[in-house]
């Protein structure tokens, strides 16, 4: 086995982190560090780009290059970093607020252009850091602090959105399924073109408290019960589908990425460098 420890990718001196007890962000951070270690990428070859929110704090805890941007613009910054220096591995860590609510436009266009980025979207169905307001992924009729009687809007399906926009790799998992989480992160990072890994994450403090239970353990059980494999989900009745979500890989294709197409069409070459 490799001696490359995940600890080389974390700033443990900044722990304990700010996230609430039972929040899935720490689990995803851990899996992210393990994935980078197993891929053998040096911290200086990786740029972690974040926006604002609970998960936006994650760049404080990673020992890779980090760029902490404004709300919803993580993918815009990540696009600039990747095109400026294509040798870097650029990974955008965003919440549902960053990725598809405030930054929805950047999200669909990054997927459409098929920029060689990896977007790790933590979907906890609400704006956790600012007090549990509803976001664009909050499911219909779910309760949040700004929809105490139930949300009147249906939520986005982030994976379907990325698939329709043209992403090369689209997958969904949860922090309960940690082994698949780590493996999908590795697969997404290695994939050339736009990769999306959506992680349905518990928020025991807000979304969980209003819709499931405030106990971290109950929220993990909820993930375990609601998540089903893609093949099982396809054979479910419409009624059952509403009560569950599919996890696994939805898209895995090799459409040429933006940079390859740009160089080909403009007959130019820039390999980047340090």
């Amino acid at each position: 086995m490799s001696t490359n420890s995940y600890k080389n990718y974390l700033k443990e001196e900044h722990f304990p982190h700010i996230w609430c007890p039972g929040c899935g962000d720490g689990i995803v951070l851990h899996a992210y560090a393990i994935a980078l270690a197993e891929l053998g990428l040096a911290p200086k070859e990786v740029v972690t780009v974040t926006g604002i929110g609970c998960w936006g704090k994650s760049d404080d805890y990673v020992a890779t290059h980090a760029l902490h941007g404004t709300h919803g613009r993580a993918l815009a910054y990540a696009t600039g970093v990747k095109l400026g220096n294509p040798v870097l591995t650029v990974i955008a860590l965003m919440g549902d607020g960053d990725a598809v609510t405030i930054g929805g436009n950047h999200f669909i266009h990054a997927a459409r252009r098929n920029i060689d980025l990896t977007a790790v979207v933590i979907n906890n169905f609400n704006y956790g850091m600012t007090g549990g307001q509803y976001s664009a992924t909050t499911p219909l009729k779910s309760k949040t602090t700004t929809s105490p009687l139930g949300n009147a809007e249906p939520g986005f399906d982030i994976c379907s959105l990325a698939e329709a926009a043209g992403a090369n790799f689209v997958a969904r998992t949860t922090p309960f399924h940690v082994v698949s989480l780590k493996n999908l992160l590795k697969e997404g990072i290695q994939k050339k073109g736009f990769s999306l890994i959506e992680v349905i994450t518990p928020c025991p403090t807000y979304f969980g408290r209003y819709n499931i239970n405030s106990s971290p353990v109950a929220n993990m059980h909820w993930l375990k019960d609601k998540a089903v494999s893609v093949s099982r989900y396809q054979h479910m009745t419409d009624e059952d589908k509403l009560q569950h979500f599919a996890i696994g890989t939805f898209v895995n294709k090799d459409r040429p990425d933006f940079y390859t197409m740009y160089q080909q069409i403009n007959d130019c070459k820039w390999e980047g460098g340090r």
Binding site: L10, E12, F15, P16, H17, W19, C20, P21, G22, C23, G24, D25, G26, I27, L29, H30, A31, I34, P175, F176, V178, V179, K182, P204, S215, P216, V217, M220
Partner: protein, 68 residues
């Protein structure tokens, strides 16, 4: 299936936020949750080194080492 290797599970009390996930989901019931919510490793010899407690700890407080 029991581990042949000797293992050491350490819990960093400064990091643990007492969410209870490790003790709830350990298939071999290695952990016991104390009254104050803190997990305690009670039967380490039952550990099958699946690493799920370590990976599922939201606070990165658990370290599982195999001592050969």
């Amino acid at each position: 299936m029991k581990a042949k290797e000797k293992i050491r599970i350490s819990i960093d009390e400064n990091l643990c936020k007492r969410c209870g996930i490790c003790s709830e989901f350990c298939s071999e019931k290695v952990f016991l949750e104390l009254d104050n919510g803190m997990p305690q490793v009670t039967v380490p010899e039952n550990c099958i080194v699946c690493h799920l407690c370590d990976w599922r700890c939201p606070d990165l407080a658990i370290t599982l080492e195999v001592i050969s």
